[in-house]
């Protein structure tokens, strides 16, 4: 069976979302880089894979997919075993909790945290745009409120969907990894259960392996 292909740079957050799922299920895969400088993401070849001209794109045989969470769920379903079941779709309540916290990451946690990553890392280091401190300060206030809820939740549960690691936890990895490379990483120290949960995620072999290829470029 040919390995599946993921198109896009391994250090891109949404590509990393897919890769951590592939690592967790032990699938064979290859990463095919897409050269943004050369506008490769807008090339006819790539638009066939992802009509929005974005990354990641994904190929499994003749199946082409886009949207990182849809790709990730495809991977988690295809390679699911009794031991590795990160979606829990066979259990209504568990699957619902995985969905709730996957949505919370997408619509509540990440909108508060990712502007800090963009302003402190991506803009200055990759785009030559200086940090907008107002955006950072506003986002930090929002993020603190979100982390208060996470702290209360994680003081009752080992992982977000319950006592089991799931897609909900893994979704938080890419952007939080980069957040820890900003000057504001110590914010998590104020939320001990959140910090402990993050350290559990970071200790996973899949995350350790991917983290090594996601070191932000030096300015």
């Amino acid at each position: 069976m040919a390995p599946v292909k993921v198109f896009g740079p391994a250090m891109s957050t949404n590509v990393a979302r897919v890769l951590v799922c592939l690592e967790e299920v032990g699938a064979e895969y290859e990463v095919v880089n897409i050269d943004f400088q050369a506008q490769e993401h807008k090339s006819p070849e790539h638009l066939v894979r992802n009509p929005f001209g974005q990354i990641p794109a994904f190929q499994d045989g003749d199946l082409l997919l886009f949207e990182s969470r849809a790709i990730s769920k495809y991977v988690l379903r295809k390679y699911k075993t009794d031991k590795v079941d990160l979606l829990r779709e066979g259990n209504l309540k568990e699957a619902a909790m995985v969905d709730v916290w996957t949505e919370v990451d997408a619509h509540t946690y990440n909108p508060a945290l990712s502007p800090i990553v963009y302003e402190c890392l991506i803009n200055p280091m990759m785009r030559g745009i200086p940090t907008n401190q107002k955006v950072v300060d506003e986002s930090l206030e929002k993020l603190k409120k979100v982390l208060e809820v996470y702290e209360a939740h994680l003081s009752k549960h080992k992982y977000l969907a319950g006592d089991f690691i799931s897609f909900a936890d893994l979704n938080h990895f890419p952007y939080t990894f980069y957040f820890m490379g900003t000057p504001h990483a110590a914010l998590f120290d104020s939320y001990p259960h959140v910090k402990a949960w993050w350290e559990r995620i970071m200790a996973r072999p899949s995350v350790q392996k991917l983290g090594a290829s996601m070191v932000p470029p030096k300015a």
């Binding site: 949207e67 495809y74 295809k78 969905d99 709730v100």
Partner: protein
């Protein structure tokens, strides 16, 4: 068995997403009406249900859920799994992809258009025409992709109706109430036909009856 409870205000597009799915699933449910202007979503009793202080939320027996798409998936998985296709790798992936296109591409464009064109006038804010113009342009580019898809596929995920359709109703309903709707949508005939077919579904008509085009502000029924 006790009916499912859904908390929120019916004019909310996020609430309507869950209501359409409840209707499509023929679920027994009751709405627990809440007042946004009254701050019901921030009261301690509600924060015990959704600590993020947002609506909708759902209770089914001892299970409490929030986030409109998580609620919708739970209902469909329980009562109408054919709308999710989770037993089929390829089909479920296509459903998920187009649900996410709505969530991460279309909704971030339609929300500021709807807020500026419909809501702002009622809450003492000026319309930001630059924001509207910028998002209308983004919308047109995005709809090119929808048009191409719906020219070769009857529904978004394939030749079958799915959650991908239902999740689109919410924000398209309010975009339809803006002055931009006709000119924009007329340029994409397959998209327009797909949207009008969705509008004709009994579930959608029923839910839309609770969603006046001005969110209720104009008639004094402030949400």
């Amino acid at each position: 068995m006790a009916p499912i409870k859904v908390y929120g205000w019916a004019v909310s597009p996020w609430m309507s997403r869950t209501l359409v799915c409840l209707e499509e699933a023929n679920a027994e449910y009751e709405i627990v009406p809440m007042s946004r202007s009254g701050g019901d979503h921030l009261l301690p009793d509600y924060l015990a249900i959704n600590p993020f202080g947002q609506i909708p939320a759902l209770q089914d027996g001892d299970l409490t859920l929030y986030q409109s798409r998580a609620i919708a998936r739970y209902i469909l998985r329980k009562l109408k799994p054919e709308f999710l296709r989770e037993g089929n790798l390829r089909e479920s992936a296509m459903v998920d992809a187009w649900v996410d296109v709505q969530a991460h591409k279309l909704e971030p464009i339609l929300l500021p258009i709807v807020v500026n064109c419909i809501i702002n006038q009622f809450v003492g804010r000026d319309r930001d025409q630059d924001v509207v113009d910028e998002n209308i342009e983004k919308l047109k580019k995005l709809l090119e992709v929808y048009e191409a898809r719906l020219s070769t596929s009857k529904y978004l995920a394939g030749d079958f109706l799915s959650f991908a359709e239902f999740t689109h109703f919410a924000f398209m309903r309010y975009f339809m109430a803006t002055e931009y709707y006709a000119d924009v949508v007329d340029a994409y005939p397959h998209f327009k036909a797909w949207w009008e077919a969705l509008l004709s579904r009994p579930s959608v008509k029923k839910v839309m009856a609770g969603m006046p085009p001005d969110f209720g502000f104009g008639s004094g029924k402030i949400p």
